[in-house]
């Protein structure tokens, strides 16, 4: 049996099943909390920090925090939105994102969020790091230039016996994604496709397949990110 709890987002009374994550609880009430590293159905990992809201005055990530009775949540405020915008900007400057030449353009969640938050010029200097493209895998091309280190691939893609195919390497600004040489080499077509689909940006791309949907008719060309939740 599920219990319902009352809580407030930006002063609006909301109702949701106790214990579900704040992002979902908000969506059920027609409120959009921006997310980037989160994917439904997979254990959350507050990596991107974009979904941060203030819960009773303290910053908490909405994708990892379960809703409880009486929570007072601030979400759509100028201060919070400015930090979210800064996070989007920082993700652009830490990598090399040349959207016009990217196969994911139009389906890229980072790009879509940048439009939604009206990012013009980032407030930070571009770092232009030297990053490599790894084409050693038979089915997936990994472009570290575009990786935002969201951990989706690590969390969602496992072998049948539950082993990791993707992992982090190093730490801090040197952090990167690595693909297991052996398990990655044997990855099934289905799993390879799933990794590509799950990557929010153009960091994981399929081999020998591109531009199957023309630019202009892609997901976020048709409807900006976040509208779906707000229409509920």
């Amino acid at each position: 049996m599920s219990t319902l709890v009352n809580f407030k987002i930006d002063g609006v009374d909301c109702l949701a099943e106790a214990g579900i994550y704040l992002v979902e609880a908000a969506a059920e009430n027609g409120i959009y909390i921006p997310t980037l590293c989160n994917i439904q159905g997979v254990k959350p990992r507050g990596a991107c920090r974009i979904c941060t809201v203030m819960v009773n005055g303290r910053p908490m990530t909405a994708c990892t925090t379960p809703v409880t009775m009486g929570m007072e949540i601030q979400n759509d405020t100028p201060e919070i939105n400015d930090i979210r915008k800064a996070i989007i900007e920082v993700l652009f400057v830490e990598g090399n994102h040349f959207c016009p030449s990217c196969e994911k353009s139009g389906c890229c969640e980072l790009q879509a969020l940048a439009y939604r938050f009206r990012v013009m010029v980032p407030r930070f200097p571009f770092l232009f790091p030297r990053r490599e493209v790894d084409a050693s895998n038979p089915k997936i091309i990994k472009d570290h230039n575009r990786c935002i280190l969201c951990k989706r691939c690590i969390r969602a893609i496992k072998t049948e016996d539950g082993k990791n195919i993707f992992a982090y390497k190093k730490r801090g600004i040197e952090l990167e994604i690595i693909i297991d040489p052996e398990l990655g080499g044997k990855i099934t077509d289905e799993l390879a496709q799933k990794s590509v689909d799950i990557c929010p940006v153009g960091a994981l791309l399929p081999r020998e397949k591109a531009y199957q949907v023309p630019i202009g008719r892609r997901k976020y060309d048709i409807e900006p990110i976040g509208i779906e939740d707000e229409k509920k």
Binding site: T61, V90, E94, R123, L149, Y168, K170, I173, I178
Partner: protein, 602 residues
């Protein structure tokens, strides 16, 4: 080689949660962890190759390349630099003919930087194959390198007498000094090991123990200051088949070294504290997570645990209490400051990367192996023994109203008597300066609570050390007038955070680095007023980070901007509004050189 790796894996029963221990042993046996070793470990533990690689590549003391027969890790903390690190470094490079980050051609010597090793009161200091060499001078470096070239074992390279107290113990034999300058209830010799276990625990229920700790108003000494009694109560009430007690001896905050002194001089007190905690929450297993830099204490500590088992202070039916079983193992880290964060500590002890977890759930509900877990600082656990021995009320009489008891302070920098001081809460910074032999007139600043704490100037020296005012995990770094505050302290600390971020938050991975670049620009006299505003604004973004590391990583810059703004203003071009950050002369340098022309830039 393959057989040693095989044996190491066997020693830990092919248990993947012991991956840290396996990697530590392979690294120490072979000087590095080769691709073949990784494959072997992955196959035997039945995990993927990248799983081993992701743990291994996280820690500073694991290397995928040989680190030399003698691997020298020279401390790069602010105080080490203040005490003459640069000359030591230059001498090391000159005598070996290599730069830092390299290994000599013959594979004999490797030179590496490392974050604070917990020896701030005896800097410059280095670790050579895990052995501490303190108070280094260029002359001493020459001796050391000569000894190495003659092939002397590291243990025979000490020229001075061993340090004080238990540093001389046959199982320790190190030159490290305790420098205990002031004793109180914790450091006092007046302690009979096991007394609480024999005399008190059998008379008390676990609930009474928790009640007594609550009565003492004891708050955690690891930095966050969470009430200890409450933490234990949460864990006692949490559901779980097994419960765990962790001692946090990761002590990585630069400038802090008091836990090292406790581990050396009062380890029995600490272990007794863990037993009390176990009794209170109903745990049967304890893990003392000790930072890699203190590995020279391994045999000593393990021998004491063995002694405790023989005396029924650990093991089954402890102290004659029917059904009270508890044992302790020591888990070493491998060089990562963030592992001091309690959930990262737990991840690391499970053999994984030291990435903090998302909270809730908190460790008291879901900790080690997802079971309810108490994580307490070394000093907290020691204090608890005295609380149970003498009563919560007795304890609460020490200190101030909101901060009861005593605090061990690690004091270093520009003062006559650096070392460990056990004082009651409630003294002012001025009192401390007087106590350690620092003339206030010659002091421009004091860093309270390490890089994540605050940098204060003379106008705030009357502030008091307590949770309500200047809370501190216990370190004070004293900075004389002759220091370059922004370069020696603020830049060094900011670099420390850049180095130590686990990287999993977008904010903490990038913002400190971007702030560091901006600080360097200002120090390079290229700054404009807007840069100071940017730093303040960017600092706010860090509040959206997951753990305390990211949340405080801007503090060195932010607190110096607040309290020492004039130093920044003296460096920037005050009259210039705008800065394109584009350097024309740099941009055309190569082409001008090629063309043999001198550019006209105005």
């Amino acid at each position: 080689m393959a057989t040693t790796v095989q044996n190491i894996i066997k020693k830990y029963n092919k248990d993947k949660t012991r991956l840290m221990d396996i990697l530590i042993d392979v690294q120490s046996d072979q000087g590095y962890i080769s691709k073949e070793s990784i494959s072997k470990i992955a196959a035997e533990l039945d995990i993927s190759h990248v799983d081993v690689e992701q743990t291994m590549s996280f820690y500073h003391f694991f290397s995928d390349k040989p680190t030399g027969k003698y691997a020298i890790y020279l401390n790069d903390s602010a105080v080490s630099n203040m005490m003459g690190r640069q000359k030591v470094k230059e001498t090391l490079e000159k005598e070996t003919g290599i730069a830092f980050g390299q290994v000599t051609r013959d594979g004999l010597i490797g030179l590496f930087d490392t974050s604070c090793i917990g020896m701030n009161d005896q800097e410059p200091a280095a670790l050579i194959n895990g052995h501490v060499f303190n108070n280094l001078t260029p002359f001493r470096v020459k001796e050391i390198i000569r000894d190495i070239k003659e092939g002397k074992p590291v243990e025979q390279m000490y020229t001075s007498a061993y340090g004080d107290g238990e540093n001389r113990n046959v199982l320790v034999k190190t030159v490290v000094q305790n420098n205990i300058q002031k004793k109180g209830p914790i450091l006092s010799e007046d302690y009979i090991p096991g007394i609480v276990i024999w005399k008190k625990l059998p008379q008390m229920t676990p609930e009474q123990v928790i009640e007594e700790v609550k009565k003492s108003n004891m708050r955690g000494r690891g930095g966050a200051g969470f009430p200890t009694g409450l933490k234990w109560e949460f864990c006692r009430k949490a559901k779980g088949e097994k419960k765990y007690i962790f001692c946090n001896a990761d002590e990585g905050e630069p400038g802090t070294f008091k836990d090292r002194v406790i581990l050396t001089e009062r380890p029995k007190l600490l272990f007794e504290g863990m037993v009390i905690a176990a009794y209170a929450v109903g745990a049967d297993e304890g893990i003392a997570y000790v930072r890699h830099e203190y590995k020279y204490l391994k045999n000593y500590l393990e021998n004491l645990l063995q002694g405790a088992r023989e005396r029924n202070l650990l093991g089954k039916n402890i102290g004659g209490i029917e059904g009270f079983d508890f044992d302790i193992r020591i888990q070493f880290g491998a060089g990562a400051y963030v592992c001091g964060e309690e959930s990262a500590l737990i991840e690391s002890a499970e053999g994984k990367r030291g990435e903090p977890r998302d909270r809730p759930p908190f460790p008291v509900e879901k900790g080690y192996l997802d079971m309810p877990t108490v994580v307490n600082n070394v000093e907290t656990l020691c204090s608890v023994v005295k609380v149970i021995l003498n009563g919560g009320e007795w304890y609460s009489k020490f200190g101030t109203k909101d901060s009861s008891g005593t605090k061990l302070l690690s004091i270093s920098g520009d003062c006559k008597y650096p070392g460990v001081y056990e004082v009651e809460w409630g003294f002012s910074v001025s009192d401390m300066l007087e106590m350690v032999g620092a003339d206030e007139e010659n002091i421009q600043a004091v860093q309270v609570g390490g890089p994540s704490g605050s940098l204060i100037g003379p106008d705030e020296f009357d502030r008091t050390l307590c949770f309500a005012d200047l809370a501190t995990g216990g370190s004070l770094i004293i900075i004389g007038n002759h220091r370059d505050l922004l370069t020696d302290i603020v830049l060094n600390f900011t670099e420390f955070f850049v180095e130590e971020s686990c990287g999993s938050c977008s904010t903490c991975r990038n913002i400190p680095y971007l702030m560091k670049l901006k600080l360097e620009k200002i120090l390079d006299a290229r700054g404009v007023p807007q840069d100071l505003k940017d730093l303040e604004e960017w600092g706010k973004i860090l509040k959206f980070s997951r753990c305390g590391l990211g949340q405080t990583a801007g503090n060195p810059i932010l607190s110096s901007l607040r309290n020492f703004r004039h130093l920044y203003e003296g460096k920037i071009q005050m009259d210039k509004e705008y800065d394109s950050e584009f350097d024309m002369s740099q941009a055309v340098k190569a082409s001008c050189e090629a063309a043999g022309r001198v550019p006209i830039l105005n």
